[in-house]
Amino acid sequence: MAATLLRWSWRDLRGRWLQVLATALILGLGIGTFAGLVGIREWRERSADESFAAMRADDLRVDLAGEGYVPSGRLEAAVSPLLGSVVGAAEERLVANGQLDASRPGRPLMVPARIVGLPLPDGGQSVDRLAVHAGRGLLPTDAGRRVAVLDSNFARHFDLGARGRVRIAGLGAVPYVGHGVTPSYVLVVDETGFPGAEASLGIVYLPIAAAQRAAGQPGAVNELVLRVADGVGVARAEHEVRRALAAALPRQGMTIARGADEDSRAILYRDARNDQKMFLVLAILVLAGAVFAVFNLVSRAVEAQRREIGIGMALGAPPWLLALRPLLLGLQIALLGILLGLPVGALASAGFRSVYEDFYPLPVYADVFPLRFFLFAAALGLALPLLAAALPVARAVGVAPVEGIRVGFRAAGRGGAARFLRRLRVPGHSLAQLPPRNLARGLRRTLLTVLGLGAAMTITVATLAVFDGFRGVVDRQEVEVLHTGADRVEATLTSPEPAGGPVQRQVAALPEVKKVDADLVVPARVAAGEHSLEIALTAIRPGSTVWRPTLTEGSLLGGVVLARKAAEDLGVGVGDEVLLSHPRWTGSGYEIARSPVPVSGIHANPVRSFAYVDAVAAARLGGIDLTNELLILPARGIGAAELQRALFGRPGIGAVRPARASVEAIHDALESTTSIFGLIAAITLLMAILVAFTSTSVSVDEHRREYATMFAFGLPPRAGLRVAMSESLVTGVLGTVLGLGLGLAVAAWMVTSLLADTAPDLDVLVEISALSLALIFFVGVVSVTLAPLFLYRRLRGMDVSATLRVME
């Protein structure tokens, strides 16, 4: 008996191998994508751990306050008594702001720079080692030379070669010999804490002597990086180091920070943690969509055996025996699905990882296969097809045998809507009545198909909607930043000056300049009730015309203008009062003041951290009327690049960047997320196509005798194809509509519930672009409708007499 069953099952498998393979592939996609997505956090964290260990990342960082510098060797000498006992290693650095010109023929590239001067001992740095991605690093023999290594983020962003030449303000032309990163700049973070700042900030690593020349501080350093000795707690080391430095340099202001708290590293781990919440939801959705679709398909395939189960009952076969064959089918699909899940998981993991490898240039990427997540998904993938097989068997053996052997007993809906729909008449001849009648007759089967397709479309729509939501942020930000003065250049002053001050006047006098507006950008905090947010507060001067924020509500005058997302998160609207924490000039320095101000308007920028006040109100709040940023429009016939070049290296100008750079920064920051969503969307689209094909294939199997009867009456195969395609069209439309509704609801939930943690600064809206809508329509309706075409050969090659002869 066992041998007969196995042979029987093998023939089942052989007879519908394509269906089984497609169903198993859907399961494999679900299992593999789940494992790949859920394993991202572990892989990111392990890669970061191993990378920071390989770079010997600092545990403590000492920065001299403001523009403070000390002679080289003083900082190391101060902590030298602690070496070995408390401090494992300590090295001095020089870090200074500057300007970098990495222009190539036809592609101007001038950005603010962070010059990092590194010691070049034999054997490499003992703390915060420079990890090289392309070309070579800095060698001890480079110590006295002007040679640079460019930040890997910056070089990748602008597609710079491994070797070349750049200009560094204060140093002139400098050859660079490679790309690399140090732990502080694995992510390049801007002043608002947003990663992706490599679009507008070039990190340049130089031998310390060259950096000192570029900064105009020969023989000086301003940073000490330390690793604590083995077995010593960071807190204790911090205390000892602070005491030693205070004793050695009593008048020198400085900050001591822990390496783990540094933006670059903290964001890396925080993002891994926060992103995972989103990925977990996506993983669960993909797996749920896949197993539901597989459940539905297996269930339908087993339903197709219901009459044979009925015959078995008539022969007195016990239910367990009747269950074996369908369970074998479920098991085959499950095992094949798990087997296919392995390469899919490996591919999905590789795909997701490659996104991060592009985004985070770590020196080490961990080699981890997400085995335990795979096993979890595999267990689910094993259990559900078996359950899917068991349920129809339980239903089949639950009826009286006389009903079990009745043709079409289970397929035919007998009550309620089915009874009504069965009588539905559509325009056209009798053949045209078949598709709606078939669908109505097997209402339960139709609903299962619609639900299976709907599940796949739900996750596709949800993924695409969030993907489009992120893309929408970039688009809206671009529109807002570039709505006027699109070719303007924004220059940061090295120190604030009064409106119409000397730097502004000199810039305005340049022949390359058409118009200059000045504003003030300060870090601030806005609070309402228990909620508070960090913001970059810009004071817009009256009469500024180069660029002004677009107000969607209220006005610029009389208060603070917030982003819609900021107002929403704070729970305030126009006219409500918020508490603004901002710098105030005391006459000799700055203090942080708290001022209650009304919300006067809402602006259109989707980034929450941007806020605006009018300069008059700002002067009143800040106690002084200053500017620290120039918005410069080029003269007629002058391009932004030419203008940048004219401003490059001028006294008083700290950084120059085109307005478009901030759009690119947002685009880059979101690239990893949108890429992951793009990949998931591609996987779910493939899944939806497979569901469409398999559903149709099962449906054609179920109706094979009807097709054979049609062909026996002389109808050509294309008539059968038309019937199949009409049925598919209806299920496709219903499944797509269901998927659209549920998918948008899931996307809305993801945006409101999950993005609050993963992307709190962004005003992501649930959107569906025309392209996404076209893709959804193509997959859900067109591909489902056309799926029977793949079965045309099967219909054409049908042995009509054999099909009709066998009374199943």
């Binding site: 029987w8 009952m313 022969l315 007195g316 006389v402």
Partner: protein
């Protein structure tokens, strides 16, 4: 296979030869179905006793309740009222498990539409029936039975590779090979041509004669009743006549339809 040159053969005196316990016993069996708002009575108070070795034909027009009666006896369906005892088992009081066992051990079906498993060969279909009935040597039994129905050369053919008559013979072989004491045949010749139909009937008759099985054949073809030991006629769910064929039992060679 029984054959006689005369046009009629003498039927054994059933009253005299009847064993003390019937193979099938029905008391006041009724079956009603609901079809929408209407209640249809498929069987109405049927009383019946059939003994081992009897080749019985149940006659009646479409809708008279023949198949319903057969399904009740075979425990494929249960009566709304009444009591059914088959092979000494009261199947109206049996549990679900007992009914499965009953169908395995007591009855075998031959369906009008064959109901073969299309993915199994002729041999495997028969073997499956024997395996299910729990008889030993299923392969040998299956081969022997298929040879008996003259399908020894078609063992490895799938149903779609067989003619209608051959498929029905496989179905009969599957039923016969189980060795169960009651053989229930629902329009076994309905899908077949005359010659094949006669062959099938001879096979069934031989089974009752050789093994003492109780064979019930449901048909609307009155001609078939001429070769039976006993003819039961149903109309509108009621038993309207019961007895030997009018004019005595005929030989198979005299059948015409």
């Amino acid at each position: 296979m029984e054959s006689s040159g005369s046009s009629t053969i003498s039927s054994p005196s059933l009253a005299e030869a009847a064993p003390p316990s019937p193979a099938i016993e029905l008391e006041g069996v009724s079956r009603r179905y609901r079809a929408g708002e209407v209640t249809v009575s498929a069987l109405d108070g049927v009383d019946l006793r059939i003994h081992p070795g009897e080749f019985t034909v149940i006659l009646g027009p479409s809708g008279s309740g023949k198949t319903t009666l057969l399904n009740m006896i075979g425990a494929l369906d249960s009566p709304t009222e009444g009591r059914i005892v088959v092979a000494g088992r009261d199947i109206t009081r049996a549990s679900r498990q007992e009914l499965f066992r009953f169908r395995r051990e007591a009855v075998s079906f031959v369906f009008q539409t064959f109901n073969l498993f299309p993915a199994l060969t002729a041999l495997e279909n028969v073997e499956f029936g024997v395996d299910v009935s729990g008889r030993p040597d299923s392969r040998e039994r299956a081969v022997a039975t298929l040879e008996r129905v003259e399908l020894g050369g078609r063992l490895r053919h799938f149903p779609h590779e067989l003619s209608g008559g051959e498929q029905q013979r496989v179905a009969i072989a599957r039923a016969v090979a189980t060795g169960n004491p009651v053989l229930l045949c629902d329009e076994p010749t309905g899908e077949l041509d005359f010659e094949t139909g006669v062959q099938i009937l001879e096979l069934l008759h031989e089974q009752s004669h050789d093994t003492g099985s109780c064979v019930l054949v449901v048909t609307h073809n009155r001609e078939i009743s001429r070769v039976a030991h006993r003819v039961i006629e149903l109309s509108s769910g009621r038993l309207v006549s019961d007895g030997p064929p009018a004019g005595g039992r005929a030989d198979f060679s005299t059948l015409r339809w």
